[in-house]
Amino acid sequence: MNLAWQMVRHRFAGFAGTFLAVALGVAVVAGATTLYLSSQPETPARYAGSAVLVESPESGEYELGRPHHRPWPAAEATALAGRLAEVPGVTAAVPDPSFYVQRVVDGRATGDPEQSRYAGHAWSSAVLGGYRLSAGTAPAAEGEVALAGAAPGTVVEVLTVAGPARWTVTGTVDGPGFYVADAAALRRSAGVPVIGLVVDGEPEAVAAAARAVVGADGTVLTGDDRDRLEPGEVTRTRWLGAQLLIAMVAIGGFVAIFVVSSTTALSTAQRRREIALLRAVGATPGQVHRLMYAETLVVAVAGSAVGVLLGAAVAPLLAQPMIDSGLQPSIFTVSVQPVALAGTFALGIVVALLGVWSVARRAGRTPALDALREAEVSKRAMSPLRWVAGLLAAAGGVALLVFLPNLAIQSQATVGMGAAMLLLTAGALLAPVVIVPLVRVVTWPWRRGATGMVVREGTLTGVRRVASTAAPVLLTVGFAMLLTGTVATITEVEGAEELAKIPAITVATADGTPGLSEAAVAAQRGESQLPTWVHVNHGGTVTGYDAVGRSDAPGLVLWPDTAAEIGAAAGGTVSLRWPDGTLGTLPVAAVDADAPAPVVVPRDLARRHDPAALTTAVMLDGPPRPAPGLRTMSARDYVQLDIDREERIIDIFLIMLIGLGVGYTGLAVANTLLMATAARRSEFRALRLAGAGTGQVLRVSSAEALLAVGVGTALGAAVAIISLTGVREAVEAELGIAVPLVVPWGASAAVVGICAAVALLATAVPVLRRR
């Protein structure tokens, strides 16, 4: 261990590559996991004063890992609250309906549109958040409201589901939200999802008593379980951010393993003589083995420690950008995550030790006699282990791609990425096999010139060195092409599909609001859909379906596969549960594959049973009539708006992931080349002695670097195109239409350019400095 410490201290430059790779990999993973773990559901602030909450019962089917719930109808909720109020220790049992309301200032709707869907509450629920009136009185009648930031007596303009309204402020509250009379709130919302209890006893004891009262009609939550009641929008945002963070951890971790093992391999190859000397003076293979592990441990502990600190320091800085990009909710805050940091610290060490594993075995077998050999000519570039591992990885990657179309669509992206990682690993492991013929072909035209000859022979004898340099380029180009290519292929398909269906009409849509009010819709002439949902009970299982209300629907209209799933046919009936919690039975009017949603219901029924629903858009049939929170645009622009919103998120993902990949591997390229070039000082000195000027030496070293970049690019592009073809096959199988393969040449060229520039710089620096 002492020896290891000495070695590391002396040859820090040689270990700097491993150190940096570990530190950055750990920083990325530590930062991402810190952000991920910080973004856990929280009990909404408006339930802070309610230690026991009762949630409406689950009704099967899960979405984003959360069960779907059926709200209580208003009457049922009021009755249940009445029974809960009699439980000992309960001082108040309050049904908590929420509804859409937005304040209008100067004719424009204000506040976050998505959050405004839940901004309206019943006055009695203010107590659940511990909110009090700071002035005035509680709202008691329709058209009265209590809110923060308005003095009693003022009249505020608001926008509700029904349309614009003018409400009189009766009181000023010290918490967020619009509070109206309980009856008014119940009328405006679709059922009651939660009943909050204010207790003055032991919450667990009260909860136990409440469970006896509620039975199967709901779930009683206390303590951290109340976090489940976070609004769905917030959870969806967190989920989106989590996808990015998971991808970052996967790519960061993979790249770290990759770079650590390739830099370790290179630095070990460079130390062959030194290791042989140790063997000659009496180090057993086991001792060399242990020395290598000990050295790596020293480097890894230092690297991991720096990485963890870096990750923990940078994570909070990313909170605001993530909120701004819509990848975290506005209430998101970063907290120190000791588990994430400790775990990542250990991970960094394990990764480094794994990276040194195969190298240490080989180093241990270094014959002592090698200490006497002057030449640094690389030995066999391919060890049997390397062959086996490379071929296994290639076979595994291809097998995954072949099976891709048979997998569920949700797991295709993950499996496709896994396949690409395997193929990239195979490419890196098998690179030496390709390098020799490739170099022969590429350098053929210049074989007569001195530079050409030296480059050709230099690369052919130093195959492992070239492979080490090519590996990170391979990784970067492969990842960048694959990610951008997959996204480009998919969006091309989506865009083409959606834009093709759009008629040349004008559309009225929401402007700063989550949707259009009834009044705004009624003012327009045209066709509109009211988005809602229904739960259908078929043979004991309950499934939730997206539904739309349409004024032209003759009854229930179903998609063929929806009809098949619930076992209904035209002429039959379906019993369903509405968003307000009530039950109904509808005749099936038609089964139609062209229906706009899995379930279509008459608009008036949808309106009656989902008082909170807002219309997304109206396809105009006549001139638009202005209304608050409404704007018009061409249908094409409207669809484009949707695509743009999606693309903006995808672009953020791509920029983050490719930036991460390119940044990291660019560093690896620079690092391998700096190490390799510095170690070849004597070779370059010999070249100079043979009469080469600095320019010529520079030409030789640059040509070699470019050759390595070229090899990496060729292999990376091959892997990416193979994987992209696999993805395309899967998409084709899914959609049943021909999909063009989009190869992102522009982005790929940029990435290759960056790699080449970094490579040239990294070779030129040591050559010029060691004059």
Binding site: Q6, H10, L277, L369, A371
Partner: protein
């Protein structure tokens, strides 16, 4: 000639070393029998390609013989595992190479202590300093190889080779990379080790002047011991023998070519 009662430090019995197989096989050592008595200084000479380096590698256990048996300090190398062989080398054999003898990361003292540490033994207080003192470098203990001259590095290498009190010290062209003065200093140290500490030394060299420091000079040609000179021989005589040997080889080559 005196008859030594002690066992030989090194014994080679019909040792063969063949590189490659089939048509391309090259015989570097051809049935060499050799006994190196303890506390003697033996020089091995011969034209390049005569097998002198191979002889040293096989005798030292760095390389394995294709046939025959090598016995170091009474232990046969036959059938030893790589680990056992390493331990044997560590305990009974010391090396001084032509160049690149020292681990660049370690100071002179640490380099000297390295074989002891690898054997799992903590050097006794003063042991390493005393060893460095013997090669005249007690004041350089804390220097790294890059801060030492070539001659000084070679002296540290001798100190390291001797610190385990090995049965044999092998030196492969120890003066090859040094200037004349430094080379003399290294040879004087080797001679002293033999005379004062009864150390056995085997040195491969092509330099008649270096060989003149030995008790016995062995001449190799075509993988066989073809001649030997006992007792302190003059550089002049050694040079003449070498010249004769090289002539012979050349004559042989010519004869072979004519056939």
């Amino acid at each position: 000639m005196t008859i030594t009662t002690t066992a030989p430090a090194i014994e080679l019995r019909a040792v063969r070393r063949v590189y490659g197989t089939g048509e391309r096989a090259v015989t570097a050592l051809d049935a060499v029998d050799l006994r190196i008595p303890s506390a003697s200084f033996t020089a091995v000479m011969g034209p390049s390609g005569s097998g002198k380096s191979t002889l040293l590698h096989c005798a030292a256990g760095l390389d394995r013989a294709t046939g025959g048996e090598v016995i170091i300090d009474g232990v046969s190398l036959d059938g030893l595992t790589e680990r056992a062989l390493t331990k044997l080398r560590r305990a009974r054999v010391g090396f001084v190479f032509q160049a690149f003898n020292l681990v660049p990361a370690l100071t002179a003292a640490q380099n000297v202590a390295l074989p002891l540490r690898l054997a799992g033994r903590r050097p006794e207080p003063g042991e390493v300093t005393a060893m460095l003192g013997e090669v005249g470098l007690a004041d350089r203990a804390g220097h790294r190889p890059s801060e030492l001259s070539g001659g000084q590095q070679q002296r540290v290498a001798i100190a390291r080779a001797l610190v385990t009190r090995p049965a044999v010290l092998f030196a492969d062209e120890p003066t090859g990379a040094l200037d004349a003065a430094s080379g003399r200093e290294v040879l004087r140290l080797l001679r002293t080790a033999v005379d004062r500490h009864a150390q056995t030394v085997v040195m491969v060299t092509h330099d008649p002047f270096a060989a003149a420091h030995a008790d016995r000079v062995l001449f190799l040609a075509d993988g066989r011991v073809v001649d030997s000179l006992a007792g302190p021989a003059g550089a002049q005589e050694i040079a003449m023998r070498t010249a004769a040997l090289e002539e012979g080889v050349r004559a042989g080559d010519v004869a072979e070519a004519r056939r």
